[in-house]
Symmetry: C2
Subunit: 219 residues, 2 copies
């Protein structure tokens, strides 16, 4: 490493080196273009031009179109997973289980139902045959992680006597698809115009929790 004081830090990172700045620009253009045109539909000449960078520089940084695509999708998947995970509200001072689950579901929906993330999902699904490892990563960092996280929440609610949950993973999976199934499917197939408004989200979440609770209420 070049052993300098102004290390390319993570968060604020205002003073970026030329190389890092261009790298960021290339990834930004790659995101826009791959999400809009798909893998085959994206052109490296245009991508370089849109990045304000020469083609040479793109290949110096990423090696190939495939490698750039993989890095972009992996980065987006990881970042989104982190953001979703951070938005889990604490379960310890809960008294109204219904209200808590509604807020929980609303945050999950809010994080996932954005044009950017929905298009990432479409892109990855469409490229399952060409890039199976990206789809696997999205599955792991998306639904699997969300269900695991909810699973520990439900276990805690069971321990506190607020729910009766024998199989927490099963209950979490059911809750997840009760909440996400319809909005996600609609958005996948109908495009961004099917993204529910905040009001629609709240109503949907209310009904979903209403269907979930009878199966797991305390006897």
């Amino acid at each position: 490493m070049t052993a300098a004081s102004p290390e390319p830090a993570s968060s604020p990172s205002q003073p970026l080196g030329r190389s890092e700045r261009k790298r960021r620009d290339m990834l930004a253009a790659a995101e826009r273009m791959f999400l809009a045109g798909g893998y085959l539909g994206t052109n490296m000449d245009e991508l370089a031009a849109a990045s304000g960078v020469s083609k040479q520089t793109v290949y110096k940084h990423f090696g190939s179109k495939e490698a750039l695509f993989v890095e972009l999708v992996t980065t987006m998947t990881d970042a989104t997973s982190e953001a979703v995970h951070r938005s889990v509200p604490s379960v310890e001072q809960v008294d109204d289980v219904g209200a808590y689950l509604e807020e929980y579901a609303d945050r999950q929906l809010d994080a996932v139902m954005t044009p950017r993330i929905l298009q990432l999902r479409r892109l990855v699904i469409g490229e399952v045959a060409r890039f199976p490892e990206l789809a696997e990563a999205l599955h792991e960092r998306g639904p699997v992680r969300a269900i695991e996280s909810l699973s520990t929440v439900l276990t805690r609610l069971d321990q506190r006597g607020l729910l009766t949950v024998d199989d927490a993973r099963l209950a979490a999976t059911q809750f997840n698809w009760l909440v996400m199934g319809e909005p996600l499917n609609r958005a996948m197939l109908l495009g961004d115009r099917a993204i529910p408004s905040a009001a629609e989200r709240r109503e949907h979440v209310r009904r979903s929790v209403g269907a979930f609770l009878p199966a797991y209420a305390v006897r």
Copy 2:
């Protein structure tokens, strides 16, 4: 029309004209190749060769790559929708609601969770930006139709006093995603290896109905 006795009928259709035979071969090759390679990843020279047909013939029949793609996907969507719709068991002599719903769900899963239909879904989702009308059609003929169909079933079960269903469409939507959500998402992202076996399907369906019934049981 050519006013002949051996009209190109629908079902048995053994004696096919040369033209119709070649058309069938082209659509068969198109299905294989578009499902495997996607829209941009499929090549019309190879498609003609794989169909045992000259390129000229392909363009004579379908006009363009886009038109061939649209016709193929539309045909597959419609045919699958019909097949799923035909597999709805009658509701009239039902006494055990749980067993009936389990069978209903199992048939829906059986119809949708095939490599061919799953790959069609991946393809259409990946091409939403280029062919939004195909995605809309798949949504309409797939989930919307399934939920409508189930909705009338649930209404009938409510009328017969076997369930308490105020909002049949809501209940049908919830049932649908309780059943389809997890298997469909896994299959989309993990590929055909995630298709559940008949035994896994039955177990999953049993649990799904178990979660659904408490919310809509008769009081």
